[in-house]
């Protein structure tokens, strides 16, 4: 299953990707993060101790986490905001620790963690029309660091805010058949 989580505040790219991935034969679940009620991570540490693997904050993230825990690909879609993602998407990212593996591993000579269960692929799709080189680099760098720390595969894409259908179809194909 592919899980797409998008901030649809400034476009409908998440919906378009969901439809395209569905046409490519993938089973897809889509959440519009900007319509969900998700509180910020409280850094309580419970998910790696007292309630291991479970977040204690009762909000809409409780519907999202089971899907992320079982997915083979996670796709985050957001306008590029200061070289990263919007706060709606960042709230989801911050709360993903509950489905991460808190134990440490060594990869390429450095400490990393990982995701619980079988490995998933991790994609980020950023949009923006006047992105400078610094902002583009920062977005790609964030994905690379996320991918490293989660010890997973995946790719980042940067698109205009209204990409052609062919571009959306190509990304959906790549994710669906990865």
């Amino acid at each position: 299953m592919i899980v797409i989580i998008s901030d649809e505040s400034s476009g409908k790219l998440g919906v378009a990707l969901k439809e395209a991935a569905g046409r490519a034969g993938a089973q897809v679940v889509h959440f519009a993060a900007n319509t969900l009620h998700i509180k910020p991570c409280a850094a309580c540490g419970s998910c790696s101790g007292k309630t291991y693997g479970r977040c204690v904050i009762r909000d809409d993230m409780q519907q999202v986490l089971p899907k992320i825990a079982g997915c083979r690909a996670l796709v985050l879609v957001s306008a590029v905001v200061f070289g990263g993602v919007s706060h709606h998407i960042k709230k989801v990212m911050d709360r993903m620790a509950a489905v991460g593996d808190p134990r440490y591993q060594v990869s390429s000579g450095e400490l990393v963690k990982g995701m619980s269960g079988q490995g998933m692929s991790y994609y980020m799709v950023g949009t923006g029309d006047k992105l400078g080189e610094t902002e583009r680099s920062a977005f790609l760098f964030l994905h690379e660091e996320n991918r490293n720390i989660m010890n997973t595969r995946g790719k980042a894409f940067l698109l205009h805010s209204s990409p052609d259908q062919a571009v959306i179809d190509n990304i959906a194909q790549e994710i669906a058949h990865e």
């Binding site: 101790g49 089971p66 070289g83 269960g117």
Partner: protein, 214 residues
């Protein structure tokens, strides 16, 4: 308009954590007051304080390679609000991993915010291995001999209103070698597993959300 104030903004939800401790160390030199980013409700008061300050220092933890969502929300709202005119902006980000690259996106984010909103980016400080301090003084940092004097130099830059180069924090943090990395991985994992077992859980069990589905 006269802007004499320095604003020390803590972007952590923890009032006695490492982010707050670093700001308190700065406050002892620069004066001012540490303000905590509200974790819910309106951000208008914080934005107003940012607009009225001459210099802003933001200190926060690193969550999944950059600042937490609530700070991003503040930056988005402040950007929409506008009203900035040359405020000097410094950033500090601290995280658990003993590397600079794992956390430095936070500073890139603040720099872009400053450049896009008429603030003046003055540089920042990345503190690897900061989570282990858990709010304890910087003198308890595993790399304290290098970190303490360099962080105090960073504070001097803030007090003087001068830019702080990235090389300052980069040179102070030497990542552990291969052997120590493996030792850290085993030691930290041992501590994590012990905590999980202490609470009656099996660290090798499938994730709770997958078991719930079953």
């Amino acid at each position: 308009m006269n802007k004499p104030e320095i604003m020390l903004l803590c972007a952590s939800s923890r009032r006695k954590g490492t982010s707050a401790m670093l700001l308190e160390r700065i406050r002892l030199v620069t004066g001012g007051e540490v303000i905590f980013l509200p974790q819910k409700g309106s951000l208008n008061e914080v934005i107003l304080a940012m607009q009225q300050a001459a210099a802003i220092v933001i200190s926060g933890p690193c969550y999944i390679n950059t600042y937490p969502a609530r700070l991003i929300e503040l930056l988005e709202a402040a950007s929409l609000s506008g009203g900035f005119s040359g405020q000097k902006l410094y950033g500090i980000i601290n995280g658990g991993m003993p590397y600079v690259h794992t956390h430095r996106h936070g500073l890139a984010c603040l720099r872009l915010f400053a450049e896009q909103n008429h603030l003046s980016w003055q540089g920042g400080f990345v503190l690897g291995g900061g989570a282990m301090l858990d709010g304890k003084p910087l003198e308890k940092h595993m790399n304290r001999k290098k970190i303490v004097p360099v962080f105090d130099l960073f504070i001097r830059h803030i007090a003087e209103g001068s830019p702080s180069p990235d090389s300052l924090y980069e040179q102070a943090q030497i990542p552990p070698g291969h052997i120590m990395t493996r030792v850290f991985a085993k030691l930290l994992t041992f501590m994590v597993v012990r905590r999980i077992k202490k609470h009656g859980h099996d660290p090798d069990a499938p994730n709770w959300y997958l078991r719930k589905k079953e």
